[in-house]
Subunit: 420 residues, 2 copies
């Protein structure tokens, strides 16, 4: 593979012996021009505070084996493959065309000529991973499920499709080249064959938020800037307060991890496109051009919800999206958002199936997501143009430590603390 | 919009008066770094010999009006909007946030901060545009349908889904940023509201062929280099012989145009990924690494179908893809291919719905596509791993002349010769 830097080359040498020592460079070191590699190891998994890449392939799996050892072997194999692919290497040590001629290749090959492209691969465990539908604990994980890892409640207006919800395991693959993100998920699915089966997957193309202050604010499919108030990696105190699970939060194995909430939110863009500019801005609570709050200022000016205009009417509608989603309306709760736009063909009724694949990382979904979504679903003027069609929640463990040995029968793996 | 060059700025001045004069720069002038603009006008529509961009949004529409004048008005409005969007301008003269405050914006806004990104927009007319299902001519186009513009025959193994086939009108939007390609199709759909309804749409992400010799050969989802023998824009004699409709070909209004064949070809990648490397290479007829024919040499070495190895067996299997798709197996027929990889989630059975969205431009589909596809469907070893799920054919008219006036009630439009 092209684009493998020195760290990757060293890693490849390790893999040739069937094992590897994880690279020890700083986890925040990122690609210069979108082609490079982010470190796979670190205190936290990559792909959360990492600057948001251009493309997403997200997938969930249902575990089909009953065998705890097979699950551990899968997680170990996934960890090794992920550590390689994120460094621009093939998923397996031989790659797509250098292995035994009468065996299937250990990499599928479509990313062979492509650089690492900023690929990150982030793993999570869903509620159903711990507990079967009849309440029986799975894989000997009795008592290990965090109380906060509970299926999201039904929200007003939810139109969820079972085939777009849940999954025992979830993987978020983000890269600056969609082919690299697709390649990553596909190879994980190949490795999981016989142990876990793909439940659903979702592609996303335009990021709808930034996780660093240096990334320009992108636009969602309503044509508005999105994610202006997102938590950025530069706000380390806010990241610690709102994103990472801390000791004492109720599940020690998840310390240093986070909870991931995913929502597939279809937008009725054809209806939106026939709404007057005035109505669109009232609904959002910001101008369509600069993204400034309707109370005035620039994009990053704090909204003034008390400001009134003619006749004493508030400049920002109390039922606007910016008002209801604002931390002051939600007990100070904030989230780290990492969503993407999606377009999945058309619906057979002349409309595009397009919208937002919402991804958010929080320390406590019960206080940071559920109340806000309840308020939005009930009161947000924007709800008329939204249909939540997919949903899921996963516990995202801490990262694999820098310098850990990966691969083989004893290598470190993501989620290892859960099985300790 | 960012990234509008001098030509675009001049164009904007023209649009402000409700009309525009098409820019006159050379149609082959392309963006330097993927951000720039290709000329919209020229002898041929852009998006055919244009260097293949990174992303595709393809859509087809069914015309819902019976009124010829409304169809012409739609084509005129589409032409104007396409000429603007390809230059990095909003679809309409006001754009997403500068128009009348109590009217819907004339652009949806999600590409507002993005450069032209090499966008091309290419229009085509399907057989059903000319003739209703009961055989009645539509829109006064009696006798204007080219004989070659006929629905493709049923091929062995076809598993076509009606919701992925056909369409009166087709638009191929290609860009180096998927958000720009999606924005283009969405705004054309917005403009068509009430006149034509989206029938289906397809996103593609990794090009599977090159149209210039300077583009590296990409890989398809089988992990092999694809499109090595494609017609490139540098082969001007081959382009004239195999791509552009010439006077006397049977439909004068289509002179300078082409026929577009689209096939949505699902790949059973999970099965493929379990096939040994030896079998994969035998099926393709090339090595997975360099893409060289199994008869030896490098990627661009001409395959030697007579070369034999041990025991006199041919080095390239007579039922391999490279053999059956080769011009020497097809009476010298060649195509200009412009396909993309696609991944549309999963199929509910644990498999990704992924494959190739095949797009090819030919002068004569009856000799350049149909016999080859018949041979492939019957004999190609690869067929076991392919499922054709979507299909369509469209006549793609010549380009709008450089310098033509666009917009208003009298402006030039793509397909104008058909309505002359």
């Amino acid at each position: 593979m092209a684009g493998v830097g020195l760290a990757g080359a060293g890693l490849a040498g390790g893999f040739a012996a069937g094992n590897a020592t994880a690279r020890t460079s700083a986890p925040s070191a990122g690609p210069a021009e979108g082609d490079g590699a982010f470190a796979f190891t670190g205190e936290h998994q990559a792909g959360i505070t990492t600057p948001v890449q251009d493309s997403l392939h997200f997938a969930t799996w249902d575990v089909t084996t009953q065998d705890r050892d097979e699950v551990v072997a899968l997680l170990r194999a996934w960890t090794l493959a992920a550590s390689r692919m994120t460094q621009g290497l093939p998923a397996g040590e031989f790659g797509p065309m250098s292995g035994p001629y009468d065996a299937p290749p250990d990499d599928t090959g479509e990313a062979e000529d492509l650089p690492a492209s900023g690929l990150t691969i982030t793993f999570g465990f869903g509620p159903s991973f711990f507990t079967a539908a009849d309440g029986t604990p799975r894989f000997g994980l009795d008592g290990r499920r965090p109380d906060l890892l509970a299926d999201l409640p039904h929200f007003p207006g939810d139109m969820l499709e079972d085939a777009r919800c849940g999954g025992d395991l979830a993987v978020q693959a983000c890269a600056n080249d969609p082919q690299v993100a697709v390649h990553a998920i596909r190879n994980l699915a190949r490795i999981a064959f016989g142990t876990a089966s793909v439940r659903w997957s979702q592609l996303g193309y335009g990021r709808t938020s930034s996780t660093t202050t240096t990334q320009p604010t992108p636009r969602n499919l309503f044509g508005f800037k999105d994610g202006t108030a997102n938590i950025t990696s530069e706000e380390s105190a806010a990241v610690d307060e709102h994103v990472w699970v801390a000791p004492g939060d109720g599940a020690d194995w998840l310390t240093g991890g986070s909870y991931l909430v995913a929502r597939r939110i279809r937008m009725t863009i054809e209806t939106w496109d026939r709404a007057p500019l005035r109505e669109q801005e009232t609904i959002v609570g910001r101008t369509k051009g600069s993204g400034a709050p309707l109370s005035g200022g620039e994009e990053r000016t704090e909204p003034d919800f008390e400001a009134a205009g003619r006749g004493g009417a508030p400049l920002i509608d109390p039922a606007s999206h910016v008002r209801l989603a604002h931390p002051t309306s939600n007990g100070g709760a904030r989230m780290l958002r990492r969503g993407y736009n999606y377009t999945d063909g058309s619906d057979g009724l002349g409309r595009l199936d397009a919208g937002l694949f919402f991804l958010a990382y929080v320390r406590d979904p019960a206080t940071q997501y559920v109340p806000m979504q309840n308020a939005l679903a009930k009161h947000d003027l924007m709800s008329e143009y939204l249909r939540h069609t997919g949903s899921g929640i996963w516990a995202v463990p801490r990262g694999v430590a820098e310098g850990a040995t990966l691969g083989g029968d004893q290598g470190a793996f993501v989620g290892q603390e859960l099985f300790a």
